[in-house]
Symmetry: C2
Subunit: 493 residues, 2 copies
Amino acid sequence: MWTLRRGAASVPRTLRTLRSSSTLTTKDINQAVLTAEYAVRGELVLRAATIKKEGFKEQPYEKLLECNIGNPQAVGQKPISFGRQVLSLMCCPALLELPGTSELFAPDAIARAREYLAAIPNGIGAYSESQGFAIVRDQVAAFIEKRDGYPANPQDIFLTDGASKGVGFLLSLVLRGRSDGVLVPIPQYPLYSASLALQEAHMLGYELDEAGGWALPVSLLEAELSKAKANGIETRALVVINPGNPTGNTLSRENMQQIVQFCEEHEMVLMADEVYQENVYEEALPFYSFKKILCEMGSKVQCVSFHSTSKGFLGECGLRGGYFELMNFDPDVQAQLLKLVSIGLCSNTLGQIACGLMVAPPQQGEASYPAYAAEKEGIISSMKRRATMLVDGLNALEGVTCNAPQGAMYAFPSITLPPKAIAAAEAAGKVPDTFYALALLESTGIVVVPGSGFGQKEGTWHFRTTFLPPEDEMSSVVARMTDFHQGFMAKYA
Amino acid sequence: MWTLRRGAASVPRTLRTLRSSSTLTTKDINQAVLTAEYAVRGELVLRAATIKKEGFKEQPYEKLLECNIGNPQAVGQKPISFGRQVLSLMCCPALLELPGTSELFAPDAIARAREYLAAIPNGIGAYSESQGFAIVRDQVAAFIEKRDGYPANPQDIFLTDGASKGVGFLLSLVLRGRSDGVLVPIPQYPLYSASLALQEAHMLGYELDEAGGWALPVSLLEAELSKAKANGIETRALVVINPGNPTGNTLSRENMQQIVQFCEEHEMVLMADEVYQENVYEEALPFYSFKKILCEMGSKVQCVSFHSTSKGFLGECGLRGGYFELMNFDPDVQAQLLKLVSIGLCSNTLGQIACGLMVAPPQQGEASYPAYAAEKEGIISSMKRRATMLVDGLNALEGVTCNAPQGAMYAFPSITLPPKAIAAAEAAGKVPDTFYALALLESTGIVVVPGSGFGQKEGTWHFRTTFLPPEDEMSSVVARMTDFHQGFMAKYA
């Protein structure tokens, strides 16, 4: 199309300006963009936006409940006060010279801002080093050492605009072209499918074991790897999301050891998405980092661990803070990664500070500690109660089963849809779980993401919902979901 | 190498763990990363970092002067107070409820924070819409309308983490593969060469006319286009940087009209990098946006204008704020772009607010206006004086000529290097202008970027320096450059 139109230079001017066909169409653009899908902000969200824009004229509700995205502060979670006080002072260092400041800000927030500003005398308005502020990378390294009991080197840590950007950098580094592939869990967080589609690389999906609490069956990895090889695809990396998104599970140590062993045998980069490491609800299944497992095993597997300020109990999604830690990477490759990162100059400086505040919170004995501890405990215990309330409600529904969330902030129930519902979906040109989720939206205002956006075992249907709505609304959410589901099942019985 | 190593699964475990060759090497990674160069943070900056790390042991100075990057606050520029007050309140909305706040913050800063928070009740901690906060996009549209006298639609505006990210999105959208190319000025800002290298697309350089004050000769565009076509390359877009980086020129209206006409004839996307639109120093050569020129001509050329909070007189580089405006794009293509942007969720929210503050500053009659106007005028007039001081100093040097900067924040002098210096550079394995810039760094601590990092007419040598050092240090900078240059020229005479 485009090549045809380029001949237009020889067409008389008046004619040309009348033609409206000179603009790029979706046929002319990078087809990888067209192919990429990002369900978390996909069809359901577009429909929800339209409903909102139209003022809920035809709906039996007056507001949406956005359970489609792990965005805690969008549904009422309050930020941690200490961190926000420090950020506020970092924006306006002049405040530190004013006597009234000590009445508005906690003394340890003031001290922390002074500490950062002593290390960063130019403040937050200058580009930082491309890898991120040294003082924050030191704090991240100290946090990792304390968490795992093994040393961490600030030179191996890169501060990023959220975890997504870090994943993008690593994929750009590792993927060389159309015959490369990456092993990704099914179901997966659609950042991976979208990024791989954009890079025109293969997503090699391995199915998690729903009946086994979403464990990762290493035998399936072997099978996928062989299949890829037979298709001429080189498998470059393995993505593991732990705690799981959308599955909400936490991997056992044994399972993690098997995974490391697999990566070792196949000399594969392990991309460990560990952004939900603070969202763990089962005492019997604590979070272990892959770094710790690697160190315990003495493994030389090349591993990248991603973390973010957006999740955990902070939920600072808008600030776009995060980091990744490289393990066992070749220094020359690391230098190339730094160059790649430097093309974007640096991640946003307030997100970097937020990352420092995440990994170095107030300590016992400091002025803000009691408030910090109470805020943290309040959020985490409430999340756990909300998760239980939601999952119990879902499991009470006909044809719905849901593993109890052990981590993260999502439930991913399986729904057995009646054949008539599947036929109705097909008639409407919709994937059945999208059809279900759209009906749920129209009827209740609750926005979830259909399982097909994450991938699911063939013939099964799911949706992902966060358990982030405020606790006092949770029983009403469950009641609305229940009413809707009963009506839906009755309609298509 | 990689394929060989993948056979390792059959090697006994003990043997395998002893091998250190299993890590990725630079041979195994995406070769496009290896190829991409970003001179602004390249060899000179790495050497400068080493000098700093070693504590200036062998240098006759004790600090570096970073003139390699347009990073005003890194060299002492103060942020605009009003904006920082609003950002501070946005970080800590609880302050708005405390009586002491009115003593520390200006009343219009408090009012502005309340206005933003009324529109964004969840605050800065939630992801925004992928395209950016609606209230900020409205402000950007109003700013553009006022600047150009033509309407702007908030739906055509996307808020981004600085301008670089916007450029990346557009190139991802437009480039389809290895036979696509983009016309880029020579000299250019290396974001373009690096991004094109990463996307494995062709950079089609067109030389700006140094003797003509860095004007853009449209005849050369035609020639490059034909050359590309003959080589089987489809030219997808034309990049124009105005005011120029590194050249510091401002395009005339006539030149801009020719450029639009060229894009119209060849149905090419015009990527207008207009991040220096507030940095204009010649009254006779004001900034005109391509939007305005397009509207005046009634042109339907598809154009994207990029802007940033990092430049102008704000210099808020660390906050990573910016926007792009689309003109005459197909709505379906625009929807694809929105999807692409949504994969990264959203740009950082404080950068978005900073963008709003850039385009909607205090107005006459408001409490912060006098301070704002004085800060703005102080920075811009000082930049102009510093530019003059620097360029006059450079033009006084043997073999150096430099166009007077009409805009932006850089001087890009041409240096005639003596043959002996060129021979010495070759003996040292360095490009001659890199050799010169490294010698300048060793001798003075001044970090500049060699012209070869931007591209330059064959046989000419340049360097780019900002004129951002504090005004009271500028004469010492010029003196140090002069001493160095005289010594260098004497050594290689």
